[in-house]
Symmetry: C2
Subunit: 332 residues, 2 copies
């Protein structure tokens, strides 16, 4: 398959992007990479590595869209940006997928405006996978749609289910509605109406999931509006970092014996950090657009890009887009 | 001061309630407690302790409202319930405050319907205090109002500021808006409109607080609608418990050396548990009603009730209700 990568997206671009590409090409020999950005800069990075030159095409792009710019305006003005050039490669059909660690706003808007929605999908949706205590879970929508109608959430549930099923090879994954109460009649106007719709759907709908239970990972696909999803996603990360920070604070003030204890526990904390390491996951799929679109973390390193490339491949092999078209494509 | 306590509220009632009362009366000699519930049952609990009998009045109440009942219907039907009897003590002016660890829904509805809103307050609001890395922070609203208008959130900010200032004795506490982005133009319709209003207010408004930064405790009063607030509150608790659970899981599977490390670190983990112990905090104030209303945690033990009683006293001494009347009371 052919994958387009925004060579200038993310805090560590283009170095980390190129590293990820080089590593990915060692693992997958059925892949071609199109990387966008200033040709000389990207070339200089590749020249630091040995890699199969026939598998890499550098697509020159002189501009970069920063995270501070207005997404839609920047997309319109900066036609020669690394992100727009990469999106055009998917639009034209030259590439099947795109990965970017650049501005989330510009990337999501670009996926919708340039790559385009799948007909029948009302709102494409961001669906990151998070580490839970007993398994990984998806939050959909995690920030693309901050004001939602119940029908959107039903589509999020369907798309999330298809992705989870196809990528994690789990039959009939459980789908839950993030809500502040377990009973059907709990919640705000949106969740109450959504519950009624979801229970009529042909899926493994397990009802409301209270926020306290999100981190267990017991429910696979967690549906919510993008404001709540983004809040949950970022607070979950923040709470974990904060708690580890508090533990560290306490250890610094603790006795020599406790400090010894902390040293002995290092392997455990290391495992924990790996579990919470977004770099292991790759990126968040943006579901509902007519191409494989993966949003990588802004601070992605080479390993994160390598894993995002692997994820793009699994996404492709799982025929997620075809399945979404079959499931949702009939509506208009 | 005189405080009404729902003797049958919470998982450990009436035992834990009575324990808390007895302990509180050892610390405060300027206090009288009115405790509601089946007289014989409550008396039997008190008979296990030595306590100043002239400071305690048992108000007989034969019924209990459970958490499964519809709040408003239950309040109407069960006039002889421990919670309704306690609320009436505040309504009549016999007591200045009420504490309950019973059904949150019934308690909040009862505070509004029986004790009554302060004139000018559009929506009374639940405002728990949470432990952060560098300080305690308040979330307002944490679940009383799931569908909100911008004007409600401005009132939450004002009431939260008054409470934080009066109870934590911190001049001009910082007020932030929970939002998914730092910039003014980020967020959903509600937060965008609220931002515009808050920046015009005479308070230390520090702008948007991204969910990742909530747990730092750097901002004192965090404003949001009740759906987002309840989600943040419960996810924060859930994430902390989950993370400690994962650490435990890893330790169980770890080497003998790591297990030794964990044993040596016990004092640190113990400190951590105390930091996250809701029992230390007391309960969550319900602000905007014309009486001191404290919602204690459902699983409160004696210590939690003792601290909730102390908190009621500080609330009283801080003249929070008078200040809310001055600040918000002019509107209607």
């Amino acid at each position: 398959m052919k994958i387009a990568i925004d060579g200038m997206g993310g805090d560590n671009a283009p170095m980390a992007v190129v590293e990820g590409v080089v590593e990915a090409l060692k693992e997958h020999n059925d892949m071609e990479i199109y990387i966008t950005g200033p040709k000389d800069k990207i070339e200089a990075e590749f020249n630091k590595h040995t890699y199969p030159k026939d598998k890499v095409t550098i697509v020159d792009a002189s501009e970069v869209i920063s995270t501070n710019e207005h997404p839609v305006m920047a997309l319109r003005r900066k036609k020669d940006s690394s992100i727009v050039k990469a999106l055009n490669l998917v639009k034209s059909g030259e590439c099947e997928g795109i990965i970017s660690a650049g501005s989330t706003g510009a990337f999501l808007a670009g996926c919708t405006l340039i790559v385009g929605r799948i007909k029948g999908v009302e709102r494409p949706s961001l669906a990151p996978i998070m580490p839970g205590r007993r398994g990984s879970f998806m939050i959909i929508d995690a920030g693309a749609n901050v004001d939602c109608k119940p029908g959107y959430l039903v589509q999020f549930a369907k798309m999330g289910k298809i992705y989870y099923e196809s990528v994690f090879k789990k039959n009939n994954p459980s789908v839950g509605l993030i809500n502040i109460g377990a009973e059907e009649e709990k919640g705000n106007e949106l969740t109450k109406a959504t519950y009624k719709l979801l229970k009529e759907e042909d899926m493994n709908f397990v009802g409301n999931v209270e926020p306290r239970d999100i981190p267990t990972g017991d429910v696979d696909v967690l549906v919510c509006d993008g404001f709540v999803g983004n809040t949950a996603l970022k607070l979950y990360e923040g709470a974990a970092m904060n708690l580890l920070g508090i533990i560290k604070d306490h250890i610094m003030e603790a006795s020599a014996l406790s400090k010894l204890g902390a040293a002995l526990l290092k392997p455990v904390f290391k495992k924990l950090m790996i579990k919470f390491d977004y770099k292991e996951v790759g990126g968040a799929p943006f579901l509902g657009v007519d191409g494989i679109c993966i949003k990588a973390h802004g601070s992605s390193d080479g390993k994160a890009f390598k894993n995002a490339i692997r994820q793009t491949k699994i996404f492709h092999e799982g025929k997620v887009i075809d399945k979404i078209k079959v499931e949702l494509g009939q509506n208009n």
